[in-house]
Amino acid sequence: MNITQEDIRSRIEINSISGNEIEVNMGPHHPSTHGVIRFILHLDGEIVVRATPDVGYLHRSIEKIAEKLPYSAFMPYTDRVDYVAPVNCNVGYALAVETMGNLEVPERATWLRMLGMELTRIASHLLGVGALTVDLGAYTPFVHALREREYIFDLMEILTGTRMNNNYVRLGGVCQNVNDDFFEKLSKYLDHFVLFLDEFERLIGLNKIFIERLKGIGVVKAEEAIHFSLSGPNLRGSGVQIDLRKTDNYCFYDQLAFDVVVGKGKFGVVGDSYDRYDVRIEEMKQSEKLLRQILSKIKEGEIQAKIPKKLILPEGELYHRTEAPRGELGFHIISDGKSLTPYRVKIRTGSFTAMTTLSDKLKGMMVADVIAYFASLDVVAPEVDR
């Protein structure tokens, strides 16, 4: 007999489980909370009756710091918004300021930014799926994914000068140029990466236990995903075909061909945890395609535009969003038109809205599935708290 989460939920409503509720603290320091996030779980046996997520342990006042710093000096802090995908955060912020101040960016700089973004997206998804497997008890695939991420860090080191927290982007350009040697290395790496993804799929993606742990677990239907403002791979995992790289047309994504991957319910239902895993795997393949196209299109040229040393943006406000690996990354910037610092910067992140689904979705789940569902959302704690 199959008992679904819906059945259990209806039994919770009428208090027909044993009624012996205990309160369990999961986190803040729990290996599967991907940073510092705490859940207060009310359990009846193994079943979650009520779940309250508690965040804020990694709140670093980044928005307040932004109000004290000149526009260009805030760039290194954007690395730390989502430290798994720093370049995407850099570009998100830079584009917001550049759009507001009508600053030009040289063509090569934009291509280099896209190169950095797609490489980072792959690295970030590798960590995402790797952490998902290790949370379910499969250690080996995690190590394989991290090994690949190290190779990408080697490339990032050539491209940006640092392996993590790259601080690569400058307002109006990027910090350093690369020579053709790098492009050759990258192209060689991509040949290897395709083989790796195939291997990874055989290693874990098609593993029976792995599939059983994820299929049909934590199903988020399309309308629920929209209701909870899920974004990025989590939204697409629910079958909603939205990718800001397509809809918002920033950088040169309109010149490149790629598919928007959506969840298809490969083994279970559309929007289950396996779909979110699958979307990330497929998205890495798309990023690989994008990187090859970028390599064929990138030309010699300037990498930094002249921007005023003392940059003052015109009075007004703008909400600018980009597609980061964890979904919509929006920067809402307000300028008073006379000072060197922004009046207000609000950062909207994909992990923040992914967290809002938890107290509803965890109800009626087994504790082990809580971890599977949460890991499949690929939440990164610093991005929730900022």
């Binding site: 965040v55 939205i242 007004g316 708290d385």
Partner: protein
Amino acid sequence: MKYSIDICEKLVQLVSPVSAEIIQRESKMPIVKISAQEVRKVIQIAVSNPGLKFNFLNNISGTHLTEISEEGDIKSRGFALLYVLSRSDDFSSVVIGVDLPDLNPSVDSIDDIFGSANWFEREIYDLLGVVFNNSCDLRRIMLPDDWVGHPLRKDFQEKSSYNGIPTTREDELAAVRVDNL
């Protein structure tokens, strides 16, 4: 980003051309400015009107508005909230702005319309002290429950200690700095 002035005008027509107006008309992001009492009504129209269908909440952000006098004193002018809504098919967006008074700023909650709104509102309540009426769960989200004050307000003064823990520390390097030797 796709912000269209036509959609803003349509929304203004549907709401009320008297009380709603479009600001930042010439900029990249026109904003439909409405009065604080109308927030729920306007957002419900934006969500459910067949010609609009903005059923995705991207963001809610709050700002403390201030004026700095010639003497350098900070004078509060109230608060501003900004709602960004999108369509779930083509992701074109509309932006709705609200101004709130300085004293007891409050606005109706929209957490029954959008599941994600509650956390956005909790963050604004926590960091700016704007109260959302009829909210299902209005608690602090980032800061501890016993925190006093709202740090994103421009006139926020940090206390020297929190629960006996000093928030500043002595300058340990002061003794070895060249200008102090």
